[in-house]
């Protein structure tokens, strides 16, 4: 009962302050490069929960008269279905990050925060491809709130063998990632349920690095491959209105994404006996990527978030 009253209060407050959202922006960002003959890259997707990825049910019959919704200008995002006979049972926002290392795609993070058609907050996380705890959103100040700090992880890519000079090395490669995800879901109740909107924000603060290491020492020569590849530094926030099928979602972004900066190199050393030390014979550079920053919006005053970001 108390929660229903809170929802009613939320309706009146939010209806008075609803603002139009920004221009159409892409919901997916990706980049890739080839190094040593294999593809390496990163893909980052953020936006409304895909209705096809949640279960769909027939709308429940409403005992109350319908409340006519105010039309919201559609400005990009996925198209919804107005007044259809089915509805998704979860409306909210999702983010996903994956990396391709030596041609193999690895899921790093999949996060989803939404509200069910039973008016409960729900979140879902896969971290490194494994299901981790469902953070139960806390109801506070008229919204469900989620703060999920995920323990830093490493994920190994399958071993590859690469020639470095005269030696073929078994190379250990993979990804290390850290993330802190916050989300807020404020319901704007209308009946029937498909006309309910959720004012949602999702901010997955995530960084991931690729690592490539290989080393062999054969008494008098040694060879190695090394490199750091900054896959992504994302300080992105998406905000929008999503519904249970009655309206297309509208959303906008803030922040920046820094993608793909780094260097992969090899080396071959021989042992100089008279100097009693290793001397470099070869140092081929296999890849040298400057990186790309995508500004998702400008901050107040017109500052470019990429200029302020730390690569």
């Amino acid at each position: 009962m108390a929660k229903t009253l809170l929802f009613a209060a939320a309706i009146s407050i939010v209806a008075a302050t609803t603002t139009a959202f920004g221009d159409e922006v892409p919901g997916q960002f990706s980049d890739e490069h080839a190094a040593i003959g294999k593809r390496n890259g990163v893909s980052y997707r953020i936006g409304p929960i895909d209705p096809d990825s949640v279960t769909v049910s027939a709308p429940a019959p409403s005992p109350l008269p319908s409340v006519s919704p105010s039309p919201v200008a559609s400005s990009g995002g996925t198209s919804g279905t107005v007044g259809s006979g089915t509805q998704p049972d979860l409306a909210g926002l999702s983010a996903a990050l994956s990396a391709m290392i030596f041609g193999k795609d690895r899921s790093i993070m999949e996060a989803q925060a939404g509200m069910t058609d039973l008016l409960e907050g729900e979140s879902d996380f896969y971290w490194g491809g494994f299901k981790v705890w469902n953070s139960k959103p806390e109801w506070k100040d008229g919204a469900f709130q989620i703060a999920a700090g995920l323990p830093t992880v490493t994920m190994r890519a399958p071993l590859v063998r690469l020639p470095v000079g005269p030696v073929t090395l078994a190379v250990d490669a993979g990804v290390a990632a850290e993330a802190n995800v916050t989300a807020k879901l404020a319901p704007l109740i209308s009946l029937p349920i498909q006309f309910t909107s959720v004012k949602a924000t999702l901010e997955p603060d995530v960084s991931a690095s690729g690592f490539i290491e290989g080393y062999a020492q054969w008494l008098i020569i040694r060879a190695g491959i090394g490199g750091e590849l900054e896959l992504i530094r994302a300080d992105a926030k998406v905000s929008g209105l999503v519904s249970f099928g009655a309206y297309p979602p509208t959303f906008a972004f803030e922040g920046f994404l820094n993608l793909l900066a780094g260097k992969i190199y090899g080396f071959v050393d021989y042992f100089n006996l008279f100097g009693w030390k290793w001397k470099r014979a070869l140092q081929p550079v296999f890849a040298n990527w400057k990186g790309k920053c995508i500004a998702l919006s400008k901050t107040t005053g017109g500052a470019d978030p990429c200029a302020a970001s730390t690569p």
Binding site: K104, N134, V167, W276
Partner: protein, 575 residues
């Protein structure tokens, strides 16, 4: 690629030019005397070889005959040769000669157990030869203290100071050389400088001549041909018993693009004298090291161990580091822990105190303990979970680490999982009426900490099954999950166990997965196809193919998702 190999040929010529130029350096603590063109002791330069004896399959040398007795020092002349060839052309050729002393010593510095014995190896080079040029100069290297356990196996190797009272600072090159020589003396160990080999033993002359042949290095499939023969001979004279000789040859070939790389190495130690000692030397100790010198994780391909001291110095600055620098420090910490740097465990635990579970220090520290194969770290993570006063959010975060981290969990997690699974109902209320009734009875199924811990424990249990290498412990964990499978009746409970099955990567539950795909709700069917994503391809593909034809979009989407994981695990057709 042609350009790369042209560069190699050029560099071989360049190498030869550098050698003729003759650079000298004086890094590290090795003591050097001026070089000369003539050998100092011509008598010691002549080495003789005994003929090989008939072989049998057993190794039969009493352990106490391999080491000098109290008051004795065994002196040897050694020679080490190596040459490398690429694509049929000579690339590098060198040899060193000198003297080695082996003697008992007392424990000093850190000790482990009461049954330990200690020996000192001291090395001195007096002849260098490279690409046909010779030099005669004396270089004394930091000695090595070997600690043996009661079964005569090396427990620890540690550098000693070159001068009494001075801490040893050993350069990488000195360390490599000393490790190589120590590996020759530690003849009876299977693990060599290159890695652990499959070994064939034989002995003759009543056990006084032992031969070790390395047949292959399982972790080094790139070694296409290996010619290995190592001998250890026991002798004696009026001065007493001693190891008479150790001698070995190790030639191998690596296939490479553009031509094979061939390296030929040999070593020979010949006993020259036994000296009597009045006192055991007192030692100042330096860092410990392993004979193989590389990080103790699976196979080749990793660089030398990161410095735990540097990790410890930088760890308190975690929050101030840029994200990628922090991730690099995290990886260095993981590799140092994997290599046995147990001191980092207490450092990380100390840094976690008082931190919020969403703080960068907590997330990185818990992640490090959960990612490593270090058993002490695994035990510490469980102890952290069980600490009195640990909040639900902190416990959930630790369970997330167990679910997602690469490290094998401590065996004692099983009772912790069972306690969490017993603390809340397996089939929580789902309908509004059931939820209202539960809340009226003082229990909120949506916000119950025990329910959250139960679910998180289920996911961590699944991952623990995947990571557990002991067959009996794995079977026991699978049994715990089977009990949950049998109890799951509601959609919510079924999806939770299917998520746990997905984390496990175990085909043990395939029958349940197939049944769920055939009879479950759309959400259950979607979780069922997701649960096969880490299975072997022949088990997963039929489930995925069936789900691709499911009428519900959510199931078809889940099939695509599961197929992506299968594609990532599939072998590369190019390899």
């Amino acid at each position: 690629m042609r350009g790369l190999y042209a560069l190699i040929v050029f560099s071989a010529i360049f190498v030869a030019g550098l050698v003729r130029q003759g650079e000298l350096d004086s890094r590290g603590t090795a003591d050097r005397t001026p070089a000369s063109e003539a050998p100092r002791n011509a008598k010691e330069s002549a080495l003789e070889r005994e003929p090989a004896a008939a072989a049998n399959a057993t190794v039969n040398v009493p352990g106490d005959e391999r080491w000098p007795s109290t008051g004795e020092r065994w002196i040897y002349r050694f020679e080490r040769k190596a040459s490398a060839e690429f694509a049929g052309k000579p690339w590098l050729r060198l040899s060193v000669g000198g003297r080695v002393a082996v003697e008992p010593t007392e424990s000093a510095g850190s000790t482990t157990n009461g049954d330990s014995r200690y020996y000192l190896l001291s090395f001195q080079v007096d002849r260098l030869e490279m690409q046909g040029q010779s030099r005669y100069e004396t270089i004394a290297f930091p000695g090595v203290r070997i600690e043996l356990d009661g079964a005569d196996h090396p427990r620890e190797l540690r550098f000693v100071a070159s001068r009494e009272g001075k801490t040893a600072v050993v350069s990488d090159e000195e360390a490599d050389f000393v490790r190589d020589l120590a590996a020759q003396w530690l003849f009876f160990e299977k693990r060599t400088r290159i890695g652990e080999g499959e070994v064939e033993w034989s002995s003759a002359s009543g056990g006084k001549l032992v031969t070790k042949r390395i047949l292959r290095y399982p972790a080094r499939p790139e070694i296409t041909k290996l010619d290995s023969n190592h001998e250890w001979a026991l002798g004696g004279d009026a001065s007493g018993k001693h190891v008479e000789r150790i001698e070995g040859v190790e030639n191998f070939r690596l296939a490479a693009n553009g031509g094979d790389f061939v390296q030929a190495t040999s070593y020979r130690w010949v006993w020259t004298a036994t000296e009597r000692l009045e006192n055991k030397p007192k030692l100042a100790l330096g860092n410990a090291f392993a004979v193989d010198g590389v990080s103790a994780t699976a196979g080749e391909g990793l660089r030398a161990k990161p410095d735990p001291a540097r990790v410890a110095r930088d760890w308190p600055k975690l929050k101030d580091l840029a994200p990628h620098a922090r991730l690099k420090l995290f990886r260095d910490a993981k590799r140092a822990l994997d290599a046995g740097a147990n001191e980092l465990v207490s450092l990380i635990l100390k840094d976690l105190r008082g931190r919020a579970s969403t703080s960068v220090e907590w997330r990185t520290g818990v992640g490090a303990l959960a990612s490593t194969s270090n058993p002490q770290a695994a035990a510490a993570l469980l102890a952290l979970y069980r600490e009195p006063g640990r909040t639900t959010d902190e416990k959930l975060s630790i369970l997330s680490g167990v679910a997602a981290g690469e490290g094998a969990p401590a065996p004692e997690w099983k009772p912790a999982f069972e306690a969490a699974l017993d603390s809340a109902p397996a089939n929580p209320a789902t309908s509004p009426a059931e939820t209202a009734e539960a809340r009226a009875n003082g229990f909120d199924p949506q916000n119950d900490p025990e329910a959250a811990l139960r679910e998180a424990s289920l996911y961590a249990l699944g991952s623990s099954i995947r990571k557990e290498t002991d067959a009996d412990r794995r079977t026991a964990l699978e049994g715990v999950l089977w009990n949950e499978v049998k109890e799951a009746r509601t959609e919510k409970a079924q999806t939770a166990v299917l998520e746990a099955i997905g984390n496990s990567g175990s085909g043990e539950y395939l029958s349940y997965v197939k049944e769920s795909l055939a009879t479950g709700t759309p959400r259950v069917r979607a979780k069922a196809v997701g649960a096969v994503r880490f299975l072997a391809s022949d088990l997963a593909q039929p489930v995925i193919e069936k789900a691709k034809a499911d009428p519900a979009p959510v199931v078809r989407k889940a099939a695509e998702w599961s197929a992506k994981f299968q594609a990532a695990a599939a072998p590369d057709p190019d390899e």
